[in-house]
């Protein structure tokens, strides 16, 4: 316990890193994912194709490989990003593919009559999508979107492999400590993730109940 308290500063910084990574990557994933989902149903073929290729590639690449490309690949096209920004980009762009799939399934679950009515009223594609279909789609995809985001919070741990001092990396960094002390660190790491994921799960549950549409 004493050892844990001695390293509390290290722990706090690591926790803030994990939290920051989760928040920034979450925003990036939601925004990019929504845009990709919109592109996948758009009337313009190249955009549809681009979004499909993006989703297929990112869904089938390990996140570790995405990290590799951001950290070691981007410098090859003369774009060097700091490690933290790189981690946000890697986790965000990877998760965006899953967000896009979740939202697309939501778009598919909106009754066709809604879009037909919107068109009958003379709304354009972007109006139909943003004012009629997406608001309803978002409501139905709260649960799957929630599990994507919680999985993402856990996925930020992979940043530990790329010199970012987040929570999991403490286990590797302090691995020379006394076994009993290390057990406390492990407990702290597990708790740290739960501090992020459990309230997120509760909040999502609330949101789900609040926005649910009764059909």
């Amino acid at each position: 316990m004493q050892f844990f308290l001695d390293n509390i500063d290290l722990f706090r910084d690591a926790f803030l890193n994990t939290l920051g990574l989760t928040l920034f990557a979450g925003v990036l994933a939601l925004v990019l994912g929504t845009v990709l989902a919109g592109m996948r149903v758009s009337p313009i073929a190249p955009l549809r194709g681009l979004a499909t290729v993006y989703v297929e590639i990112f869904r089938n690449t390990p996140l570790t490989v995405v990290f590799f490309f951001v950290i070691f690949g981007l410098p090859q096209i003369d774009t060097v990003v700091p490690f933290f920004t790189g981690a946000v980009i890697a986790v965000g762009t990877y998760t965006a593919a899953f967000v896009a799939e979740a939202i697309r399934s939501g778009i598919n679950s909106v009754a066709p009559g809604q879009a037909e009515a919107a068109r009958a009223l003379g709304l354009t594609f972007s109006q139909t999508l943003t004012t009629v279909v997406l608001p309803q789609a978002f409501r139905t995809v709260v649960p799957p979107l929630g599990s994507v985001l919680i999985a993402m919070a856990k996925n930020t741990s992979i940043a530990a492999g790329f010199s970012i001092s987040e929570v999991s990396s403490l286990l590797a960094r302090l691995s020379n400590a006394d076994p009993n002390d290390l057990l406390f660190i492990l407990l702290g790491v597990v708790l740290a993730y739960m501090i992020i994921t459990v309230p997120a799960a509760i909040a999502l549950n609330r949101i789900e109940h609040r926005v649910a549409i009764l059909r």
Binding site: P43, L63, F68, S109, A115, G161, P179, Y193, M194
Partner: protein, 297 residues
């Protein structure tokens, strides 16, 4: 809802607009690709001699990738088998009517679902040795993958078992079957067929997650690429880095897309055979099995 509902069949004006959009969109996509290729080319990354190394047996790259791929597949295969078996046991345990079985099993499942896979692997690799149990990096990776995925698979199996129509269970009991018989002869065969696509999707995730071995130093595909890069960098300077990483990534993507396609084919087949047999109403289609976890993240 098909995406076609979202916009009208284009008239002459809309057609012209869409054509403009297509051209502009296409140009933008091509421009983006062009910029990337141009930057890469400016750094000499597109030089064919640099890519030739991926296929040059004399440099040892294909052999190294081949053996690393084998190791990756071996890790994945071992972890797939153990986690499927353990997951099945846990799922049945969680559905047990004995509280002393149900509660510990539920705790185990929820615990391993709540923490990141990497933390499980780190715990096995860094924390356990302090208590006298030293695991090799390989064992820690396989153990971590097993523990984490058995919990996820247990939930998939449980959802599958619960999705079997209640009447099946009742009928089996009415015929005088025992609990074990009901589970193994009636419920599981139907459940497994129904959850096969979700199961395969999770196995794709497992295959992807073997890349975490890179962080603790298992010589799987990614680590091998890294060590090849380090080797060639010390020999010829920083010229093959990008090519070797692209090579490793392409191998991953090809294998995973192939597995995902298998999942899609299986899903289509189970769906159509269920329809033909009239066994499952559409409401019970595989896609509605709620695993509590988005597949593949």
């Amino acid at each position: 809802m098909s995406s076609l509902v979202l916009f009208d069949v284009p008239g002459p004006k809309a057609k012209r607009r869409q054509l403009i959009g297509t051209v502009v969109g296409g140009v933008l996509v091509l421009a983006l690709l062009g910029v990337i290729l141009w930057r890469l080319n400016g750094n000499g990354q597109l030089d064919p001699s640099r890519w030739a190394i991926l296929f040059d047996p004399a440099a040892g790259v294909p052999q190294a990738f081949g053996s690393a791929l084998l190791l990756t597949l071996r890790i994945a295969a071992v972890a797939m088998v153990t986690s499927t078996v353990l997951g099945l046991l846990l799922a049945v345990g969680r559905l047990s009517e004995h509280r002393w079985v149900r509660i510990p099993v539920t705790t185990v499942i929820e615990f391993f679902r709540a923490i990141p896979l990497l933390v499980v692997i780190f715990a096995l690799y860094f924390v356990l040795p302090g208590f006298g149990i030293s695991l090799s990096a390989f064992a820690a990776l396989v153990g971590g993958l097993t523990l984490y995925n058995m919990a996820v698979l247990a939930e998939i199996f449980r959802a599958g078992i619960l999705s079997v129509d209640k009447g099946q269970r009742e009928a089996a009991f009415a015929l005088g079957m025992r609990k074990t018989q009901v589970m193994t002869l009636v419920l599981l065969p139907q459940a497994i067929r129904r959850m096969l696509p979700v199961l395969i999707a999770q196995l794709v995730v497992l295959l992807k997650d073997t890349s975490l071995g890179f962080i603790i130093g298992v010589f799987e595909l990614l680590r091998q690429a890294r060590s090849l890069v380090e080797f060639f960098n010390s020999q010829f300077g920083n010229i093959y880095t990008f090519q070797l990483y692209v090579g490793a990534a392409v191998i991953y993507i090809v294998i995973n897309i192939a597995l995902s396609q298998v999942a899609k084919i299986v899903e289509k087949r189970t769906r159509s055979s269920a329809k033909a047999a009239g066994a499952a109403p559409p409401a019970l289609a595989t896609s509605t099995i709620d695993t509590g976890r988005a597949p593949g993240v």
